[in-house]
Each structure stands twice: as structure tokens, then as C-alpha cells.
């Protein structure tokens, strides 16, 4: 009889323990502030890699949107998301090119520079070339060189695949050719970075550019070439021997909450960020505090 009663008591206690644990877990989840970020794919890659540490160290839950579809989201989405920030709905954006002063003033944004990212020059894997001199790269994109044999390759017409994003902002592809009008006209124009990679993979004659954080799929026939013998690394960006790059930034709007401000600081200068930057050859723009 006593054993039977004890058994029932233990069952009831077990149920209460589980119930209490579930309630406590739900309450804890509800109390953790959620910060939402959205924007272009390159910054998303590095944010996504350090997200576990950011969430753990700053006691927040981070929702990131930047590579959900083949088309990605882009810098405009990052700016839009930053403007949605208000108390109780903390948001931020991430962009791959520096915003214009007019844009920052008009929208009331704050730009938090993160890193410089090398723009790598990609060609089809069947292309025998391993290096293209910088002037010839620019000449190719301008259309002055139209056949690969002119740069030591096979006798094939050159096919340019270009995503002419953010034409009003400085940096990015403008480091190759300053204006869109100067680019070769008979090119393949696409709307997403993934299409740039797919286009170069499809055409044996293809050439394009993309950020160094892009992760290629094994099925894609892509090869990265050096520019005038210089590889696209952070160090070569620092010593200015590699000429093509884009600037990754976080943008915010209005007053920042402490967790968000801390998180941005961590992204700009934390140890984990340094490790990711090293992995993708990014050049941090904010020095590590002493």
C-alpha cells in the first residue's frame, strides 16, 4: 500500500518537474530579446558564422535574412530593415557597399563599417588562364579585349557576366570599371550574385566578379584568377596591391539598444569575427581594442 502511494507521489512530482521545466524554458525564451537583421549575402555569411557566439555572449536571439533564395536580398533590403528599428522591434541591416552621404542623411542612418572584402575575378574552369593583368581585366570588362586569345587564352569570344547592383553607391564593381556606361554593352546582365556564378559556370568563355565570401558549389565550373599575379587576400588589400574590393557595413537607424550596440561592436572587432575574416580574407575596418 505504501509502495503504491509512493509510486503515485513520484509520478505526480515527475509531471510537475517536467511542467515546471517547460514553463521556465518558455519564460526564458520569451525574455530573450530578438534582433532581426537583413541585407546582402556577403555580410550575412560572416554574421551567420559568428551568430552562436553573439547570441550566447549578448543574451539575445538573432534572426538573419540574407541568403534565403537564389536572388538574395541586397543592400536596399538592408537599408529598409534598418529603418524598421524601434523599441520592442530591434532591427539592423547589412550592405556590401558604402552608402552615399545624401543617403545616410536622408534616411537618418548610422553606418558601422565592418570589413573590406576582395572582389574576386572568376572564369570558367575550362579556361586555361590562371592570371590576368589588372589593365587587361579592366579592358576586358570595358570591351576593349573581346577574345581570350588576346590575353593568352584560347581563341574564344569573351562573355561578361555582370550584376550591376547599387550603381549610385561607390565601391564594389566600380573598383573595376568606374561607371556602368564604360562596361561592355554586349554582356549578360543578371540580378543576383548566384546568377553571376551560374553564368560563368555555364559559359566556357565567361568572366565575372564576386565577393570572396561566396561559397561555390562543387558542381559549378568556376576558377578564381589572380590579378597581375596578386591573389585576393586581406593582406593584399591592406597593402593595396589587390585593386578590387567592396566594403561590408552594418547600418542602423535611431537609438540602439545595449545588446545591439554590443553585438555590432563584437562584429566589428571581436575575436570570432577576426577568425571568420581571416577565413574569407576580409580586412577588418575597426581595429581590435587594446
Amino acid at each position: 500500500m505504501n509502495n503504491h502511494r509512493l509510486c503515485w507521489l513520484s509520478r505526480i512530482a515527475g509531471v510537475w518537474l517536467v511542467f515546471g521545466w517547460a514553463i521556465a524554458g518558455a519564460a526564458e525564451t520569451a525574455s530573450v530579446p530578438t534582433i532581426t537583421g537583413a541585407g546582402e549575402a556577403f555580410t550575412w555569411v560572416l554574421l551567420d558564422e559568428i551568430r552562436p557566439k553573439l547570441e550566447r555572449d549578448h543574451g539575445l536571439r538573432l534572426s538573419l535574412y540574407g541568403k534565403d533564395s537564389m536572388l538574395g536580398h541586397g543592400c536596399s533590403v538592408g537599408i529598409k530593415k534598418a529603418r524598421e528599428n524601434h523599441a520592442g522591434n530591434e532591427t539592423f541591416g547589412f550592405v556590401c557597399c558604402p552608402l552615399t552621404k545624401e543617403e545616410v542623411d536622408k534616411e537618418g542612418l548610422t553606418v558601422h563599417p565592418v570589413a573590406l572584402e576582395p572582389l574576386i575575378i572568376i572564369v570558367n574552369k575550362s579556361n586555361p588562364l590562371r592570371d590576368i593583368p589588372i589593365e587587361k581585366v579592366r579592358a576586358i570588362f570595358r570591351g576593349e579585349i573581346r577574345n581570350w586569345k588576346e590575353v593568352g587564352g584560347e581563341d574564344r569570344p569573351i562573355v561578361i557576366v555582370l550584376r550591376p547592383h547599387c550603381p549610385q553607391r561607390p565601391g564594389h564593381w566600380k573598383t573595376i570599371v568606374p561607371t556602368l556606361e564604360q562596361f561592355r554593352k554586349d554582356r549578360i546582365e543578371v540580378k543576383a550574385e548566384a546568377e553571376v556564378v551560374q553564368g560563368v559556370s555555364d559559359f566556357a568563355e565567361g568572366i565575372g566578379n564576386i565577393g570572396s565570401t561566396w561559397v561555390f558549389e562543387p558542381s559549378q565550373h568556376i576558377k578564381v584568377v589572380t590579378v597581375s599575379g596578386v591573389t585576393p587576400t586581406a593582406e593584399n588589400l591592406r597593402n593595396k596591391s589587390y585593386p578590387f574590393y567592396q566594403e561590408q557595413s552594418i547600418v542602423t537607424h535611431g537609438e540602439l539598444s545595449v545588446p545591439l550596440a554590443n553585438m555590432i561592436r563584437e562584429v566589428q572587432s571581436g575575436e570570432d569575427f577576426r577568425a571568420v575574416a581571416k577565413k574569407y580574407e576580409l580586412l577588418p575596418l575597426v581595429p581590435t581594442p587594446p
Binding site: P157, D186, I188, D202, A204
Partner: protein
Amino acid sequence: MSAPRTYRFRLVLYISVLLLFLVAALVLSYHSSNNLVLKEAENNAARLAQQIEGQIKIEARDLVERAKMVRDNTGFTSYLYIAVSLGTDSGALRDLYQRQFGWLQIDRSVVLSRSGKVLIGAQHADLSKALIARGLMAGAGEHQFYHEGQHGLEMVAALPINYRSESLGVIAITKTLGAAWMHVVRQMSGGQLFLVKDGQIVLSTIAGTRGDQTFVSSNDRADINGESYLVRRVVIGDDPRLPQLWFGLSQQELTAHLNEQRNRLLALVLAGCLGGLMIGFLMLRNFSAPLGRLMKLIEEVGAGRLPEIRRVHSHDEIGYLTNRFSEMVTSLREHQDEVKRTQELLQHEATTDSLTGLYNRRYLYNLFPKLWSEAMRSNKSLALIIIDIDHFKKINDRYGHPTGDSVLLHLAIVLRANCRESDFLFRIGGEEFLILTSGDKEGGTQVAEKIRGTLEREPYSDAECIIPVTASFGVAQADAGDGTGGLEQLMQRADQALYVAKKGGRNRVVASYPQRESA
């Protein structure tokens, strides 16, 4: 003539009319359905052929829309632009096409550059030639036409492709109107399809049709494989070199369907007849039969009979009526029995002496003619005995009338004890009794003597006294001369004999002489 007015007759009449109507409808439909179905089938064949034409037009529009889907894809046009303007390998274009449009439900696709170079679909040379022959690379508008190539007859949608106002070439996609398509259309229409070229069937939905089967259409009819078809041409394009598409409805199939429908109708009519008969039977059983029984009972009651009517246990109106009628007849019967008993009592009282229970004089006069007639008819004799108690007045005077009545009863008992069942005993006066017995005068004398002896031996006795009782007997025999009204004469003769007996000292039997003898 009035019998047919009965409910049963009407019911049988109605059911018969219903059955007759059903059978007539069946016969009429059998005779009229053949021509009707054939005429309707001809209209149907034309209608279905038009529907197939409409379906083909819809499929053609759908094919054009699919071609537009490819043409309007910016990735595809920019790849094509590069391939055409730079002369690159078309592999990238083919890969993109396969990646983005490989799922399209089409049979063949060809992309030609404006110079006629095949960029996609090099294996479909016949289609490329057809496009070139039609001059479609020049950037003209949409084209939808039919083409007979290595895949047979096919529907083609061809669209020019432009990029930045520059003509790049043409894309053509096809849908083959082959066996699979024809079978789908057959499923939809229910008829057969024939693809005919130069009078020969090159493809059909009929299993086992040879490729070289001749197709000759006359008056919208054609014989194929020994089977007759109602046929209509399905117009697809105006090129006379193309095979013709024909739609046909098999007359054998139509007849089979007709017979199937007829059999269903027959089954329905039979079921209707059976239902009608069953309803009639139930109505007769539930309404007419009980009504008939009730009518028969009423007739019996009307005829004066009051039969025993069993109660019924049904709770319907007829059951209620029958039970009420049964109660009424039972009540009548009980009343009739009572009347009969009263009649019998009155009859008894009218013919019987109340003291002795013997018949009275009135009944003697009623009975005698019958007995006399019967005796004469059967050639038998009839004897009459008159009995008179000796000195009865003295008994009355000495012992009183009650004792006198008891003496009379004593004599009645003695008479009953000594007479046969067939003898008739009467009390005709105060102390006078009469016996009618079959037999002659001697027989009557013997009976009288027997009674006289018994009476003499057995005196009347009661608690107070013993009274010796004797009687005198006069016997006479009826004869043919008496007639039915000869009772008076017979009784007179017996009275004369009785008188003689009285005169002779009483307590004796004297027989009379016959009338003729005495005369």
C-alpha cells in the same frame, strides 16, 4: 353488367392498364430507339468532331503560351543574345534551357539563330528545315502550324526572339498528335480517331488496325476492319499535304450501347410490371379480399343466415368494420335464438297438456291427417285408443282435486311406460286420454290391454293413501275410408267401443268394428 363496378374489378382494371401502358412504352421505345439513336449519333459525331477541333485549338494556344514563357525569360534571351552575337558555343544555352524549362510538357523544341544555325534541338533536323522553309527566322510574328515530320503529325508553336530590339532567331516547340494523344482524345470523346493520308490509315485508336488499311468515306460513313463507322473530319490546318484527322463512332458500338440501354429499359419495365403486380396483389389481399369476405357475409345475413364470424386482428378500417359487423351478427344470432326458444315454448304450450305433459286435443287434430296420410302411403294401419279413468269423479270427490290431478299424472306415467317411442299420447279431456299407434286394431287392443293390466296392478299411492285406479279402453282402427278428416269418425267408433267397455263393467278393453262392417 353491374359486377364490373366492384372495387376488385376496378383494381384489376387499373393494374392491367398500368401494365399495358408499360409494355406499350417498351414496345414503342424498342421500335423508335433505333432510328432515334442513329440520328442522334450522327449529330453527336459532328458535335464531338467540333469539340475535338476546339480542344486542338486550345492546346495550340497553350503551346504558344509555353513558347512565350521561354521567349520572355530574360536569362534565356541574354544567353541567346551572347550565343548569337558573340558566336559562343550553344552548350550554355542548352544547359540553361534544360535547367529552366526541362519540365515543360512538350515533345520537341528547336531554337534557331537568325542565320539559321541550330542552337537547341540539332537532332530535330526536319523541324529546323520546316522553320527555315517557312522563313520564320526573319523575326515575323507568332506562328502556329502543323507539321508532319519524323515524329508524325505535330502541332508547332514558333515565336521570334528579340533582345534589345534586335532579332536573335526563333524558338519552336511541338506537341505530337500521335498515338498517345489520340488515345487521350478517344477517352474524352468516346469515339475512334483515324489519321489518314492518301486514303490510307496511318494511325488509329483501334487496336490491330494495319498501317495500310484503306479509308474511304461516303455519306459520312466508312467501313474499317469490317465495321461500319459514322465519321466526321476534324480540320487541323489547311495544308492539303498533311494527313487528315477523322473522328468516327462505331455503329456496332452504338448498337451494343442501344441494346444495353434496351436491356436496362426492359429490366426496368419488368421490374415495374412486377411492382405493379405486387401492388395489385397487396391491394387485393389487403383491401379487396377482406371487402369481398365482408360482402359475402352481408349477403348471407341478408339471406337470413347468421354465420359465425371470426374476429380479425388487423387494426385498419376494414378490420374495424368486420369486427363491428361480427358483433352485430352475434347479437342478432343471440336474439334470434331467444325468439326461437320462445317460439318453441309457445309451440310446446299450444300442443301439450300442462298437467301431464302429453299432447292436447288441438295437436291431435293437427297431427292426425299427417299420420293418416303417411300410414295410407306406406300401406300400414293406424289404431286409436281412447282411455277413460273409471270413477274418476269419486276420486276427486273423496280425495280432492290435487289428488285427482296426481292420479291423472300417474296414468300419464303408466302410458309412457307402456307405449313405444313412435306412439303419440294425448290428454283430450278431464280424465280422457288417447293413443295413436301404428298397427291394426289387434295391435291397439294389445297395447290397451297391457296398459290396463299395469294400471290395475299398480295403484296410485302417496304418503297418505293408496288409490286403486282402473280405466276403460275403446279401440278403433283407421281405414282408407276415413280420409284425412276422418278423425271424428274414428274417435266416434272408439268412443262407442269405450261405451261398450263402460257398460260392460269398466276396467276392460273393447275394440270397435270397422265403420263399413258396422254399417
